[in-house]
Symmetry: D2
Subunit: 352 residues, 4 copies
């Protein structure tokens, strides 16, 4: 594809927060045009009626979920659909010859029984699980390049594994001691109504949820096991922060060599992420806050070795809707198409 | 100036919120390069140390406030300085041959005594007051075009007068009945520390401030008087909302012809703002919320005529740091340079 | 009733925010014991399962809505039920010999057609409308004393009419010029799920709602008409603030005698509310913020006369769940029983 | 002291958040009267001028810091002063015969060099360190009873050690594996102005701070070492949540006997805290949120054993200004005086 040709993109599940963010980000992409916004409900209505921030910006009406229709209007489909829905939609989309980037959790895990155990749903067919490339852009870019079906990582796994991978891969921390304490803004819970997202219940409140049972646990362990070269089990706890956007993972592990310093780790991470513009390894002694990546595709990482305890604390932040969803999906599209991975994604964080 | 040539911009007061927002927005401008970030304190230190969201994005060190230095590095200077400071800096900047866009309140009012009365400071020299073009982009674009010194409007006056001007100009509301109830996010108070901006004092709190004495009152009256063709006095009250960004002005006035409807006003406003992309007149019966313009240069307006009372309620929202400060300043630069006023400013609002 | 005897109270609609607040406040009342928590759904389940903040404090299970059961367990019933539900429940409750305090809007308006027009529901029978005493405690205490059926005022009307009544009654402002700009925290919207209360839609957002059609409009006008001695029509606009609790009404009116000052009005209000402990008239030149009454039964009022425009700005704040609902309901119970109206209600505001 | 006699209390540092909260809570205490509010600055001014939520409630003017004056007006002194200030004030207060409850960190640690190392200040004299009873009410009540000088615990150590003590004491977790991930509302940072508490910097932001160097670390280790009967070292990380009140500590440790279940631990904790009304051990499978103890003196605890990893996750929440400061201080006063420890403290949490 030459630069003169626009790639046409359809967004299925366009009325969820992931879909809305894809629309915002793709509006600034030089080579992509959104040609269809799709919703299983509300087809035929004006998109901007439900999203007045896009008044006079998006003038489309919502399309139905119809692979042939999509094929006629688009080259690539983003599935920003709930878990379980992608399982049903992907085969017909691929069969229709569309490139597919799935933002749900359906195709991330490669073992059907692990999926069923954590997601409490029937897994997709194994053939599709095998075919889906797991799109953690900074770790597995080579596999994403040229793929036609990418499973976009979860928000927590993105922040977490980008923060842990270099240390595990290098053998500098003991994978059996990893503890992950994650915190997310409320938009991670989506646009569906629930008491858990009701303003007066969340505001001025901090709570843990899905303790010990979060479905992102096996996804994190899958990536860390790959880094370690052997199965890794972790303790992973998620918390809800009274804010809209942002994820922080605070991660703890025991050093394999207690003489290593914060500066050593900082240098290790800088080398590992050399040339990867969206990972910013912060100077030793400083730590990122979620607001510092707000609205952007950055993942910022800081770390501290505590000589008293022989442990490291690693802090990693992302915007859950960008690097944790829509942004990384576009980054994966860039890789799939052979473009510069930063194309259309160099948004400066919105601060304050 | 051809498109191949970059305009070089300096930002004085770059460590305040207005300055920080200029950096974010100008990073996306195709014809402008920020060549100097200036601060009266901290000169010589790395800019991103104080603003880690710009780590690896802005690598400059802070420059001193020195007109000759600025002249050597820049073509245009944005003054995002506190009231009273611009008064002192502008003459030397203009003398050095720099184009100047001043975001402070110093040069907005054209009568020195009115300035002194409301700002409690000595006014600039009358010659400079006369020379400064008041840059309410959608209302006075013709005057801004080709100017070399523009005084950028205040945040409240922008939201307010864009919401009232068409109705006053048309004579459809009685200017003597106008009441303006405005609400702003906390970033409008700037980055300077004060109990009024202390988190625990502001969070989960709503309060009025500067009741009857806000310095934006005469600026609003200046614009409305121009619309009415005679002096207009208004009641203007400001409130602080526990959020970072956003301004809403809710405005009330008595109709001059009680038979006019919401739809009539809606049509009047649509015609008035025809072709002005940053003003979005919302469909009759709907009203804008501040989040719907978050991070963008839009001013959205809705209105309702209440036949019971013969009054109209007009609601106007902006992002105080964009349309209310940095965004309109860049829009004015675009006009000054003869470019399309939307250049570099078509950011989609960040939602949610 | 002697002090040794406890009044037994039932709370119908105990799982809404009004009901939950009644439980919190009544726990500190020296003469009242909550003997039944009632819910149309969930009867039989442990109350604290849905409200873990009351774990080990409230150990009751939810009762069904059954007048005979309530009569056997309680002397007084608080109806914290949605509009339309109270209409159906009140007759049987009164018939069973229970004292009733209704927190819904069903019995506030005395004209059935006005109710139907604004609430879009069938009005209660006129006999019950006539029988219900409108319990604006500070204004109509004499009528509440000894009543057995009190209709508790709405949250906006409470803040608003307490702020306007003395000036209208005294004839110091022109009732035809009154404009009311109100702002409320999100808990005012209740515990029912809706997009309007969804965290990510509300947080960092400020919006107007029900512009020109809010059902509290006729209630406010009813009280102001009583003060003026003739029909009064007002412009009333409501806004949603990203916080949980708190209401502010900012009110504007034209003076009938332009020579009166802020201090004159302050003195008028102090005399009017002499001895009414829950209304705090703030010193001239200061204005209350919502947080300053958080969790308490106070209504704080400040005012400013603007000689430039001949208008007054009056600011009145309450905690919508206390003075605007549960607190005033208990204050009315105190009055009904002939007790000191402050009994059990002298909570110090929670600050910060 | 008989119940008929009121204890007179002075509050030094009454204009900080700890002092303000003492005033709110003591207003409801049946046996205590606040007779002096003290501030090193502003002496002579009306207290409520700075704290309008107390208008007409507190009518005192601020006293100077003068031990003899305090002795003449009070029986007990609460020191809600910054670290370093209490060191200087305590000796003269004790010498004057006043009972002292110190809310600062100055007298918590018993080893002067450890204090100096973590607080970067000179430690108090060893004699006073020895004399101060460490007032973790639920753990060391026997020592507090009858004491005349109590050092009130820190906010993080309160939430944390109440959550860990029973398990460490029982030998059910390995003390060397303990990791503590704590989160606090912004009021924990006090009322002093700093960029770290500036609204626009904190709102919609989540950040870690004092990573590896928080001064509460040795206090936590002191208590856990006492539980373990040997020195314990921990990893402790603190985070700032965009909310005003509330602390959660999420704590991780490896089981010593992997066959123990969540229910086993739940039962252990229930037995340990039997009769201690302010600790609420939540039912197995549920976890407390900070809002569920808002404004109250409760510490709520939940826990989950993860059989996959052989670790336990313990979650403990408090209101940092109540159980983490003013509330526990009053609880300690109750113990010192030989009263029921719950006196004046049975506030129901404010929810929502």
């Amino acid at each position: 594809m030459t630069h003169g040709t626009q790639v046409r993109a359809a967004i299925v599940g366009s009325t969820g927060y992931g879909g809305v963010e894809l629309i915002r980000l793709l509006a600034a992409h030089p080579y992509v045009t959104v040609t269809s916004v799709v919703s299983s409900s509300n087809a035929g209505t004006l998109y901007s009626e439900g999203f007045p921030h896009l008044y006079e910006i998006v003038t489309d009406t919502l399309d139905e979920v119809d692979p042939q229709l999509l094929k006629s209007k688009a080259d690539v489909v983003f599935l920003a659909t709930p878990h379980g829905v992608s399982t049903k939609l992907v085969p017909s989309m691929l069969e229709a010859g569309l490139k597919v980037i799935d933002l749900s959790g359906d195709f991330r895990l490669k073992e059907a029984d692990v999926y069923s155990q954590w997601y409490k749903k029937d897994a997709p067919e194994q053939g599709y699980l095998d075919r889906a490339v797991f799109g953690m852009s900074e770790l597995f870019a080579d596999e994403v390049k040229g793929a036609d079906f990418v499973s976009n990582p979860g928000c927590f796994p993105t922040a977490t594994t980008l923060g842990l991978y270099p240390a595990v891969k290098a053998g500098w921390i003991d994978p059996d001691t990893i503890i992950i304490d994650s915190k997310t803004g409320v938009s991670g819970g989506g646009r569906g109504l629930s008491m858990a997202n009701h303003y007066s219940e969340v505001n001025e409140n901090f709570k843990a949820y899905k303790v010990g049972v979060h479905q992102h646990t096996p996804e994190i362990e899958m990536v860390l096991s790959r880094a370690a070269g052997r199965p890794v089990t972790t303790t992973f706890t998620t918390h809800l922060v009274p804010m809209t956007r942002g994820i922080m993972s605070t991660m703890y592990a025991t050093l394999t060599d207690k003489s290593r310093t914060s500066a050593d780790f900082n240098e290790l991470y800088r080398q590992f992420y050399e040339g990867r513009r969206f990972v910013r390894v912060r100077p030793t002694g400083t730590y990122p806050a979620t607001k510092e990546v707000y609205g952007s595709n950055y993942c910022d990482i800081g770390m501290n070795v505590d000589a008293r305890t022989g442990r490291i604390t690693i802090i990693s932040v992302i915007d859950n809707l960008v690097k944790g969803a829509a942004g990384q999906a576009i980054q994966n599209l860039n890789l799939m198409m052979g473009w510069d991975e930063t194309l259309g994604l160099l948004f400066t964080p919105v601060y304050p």
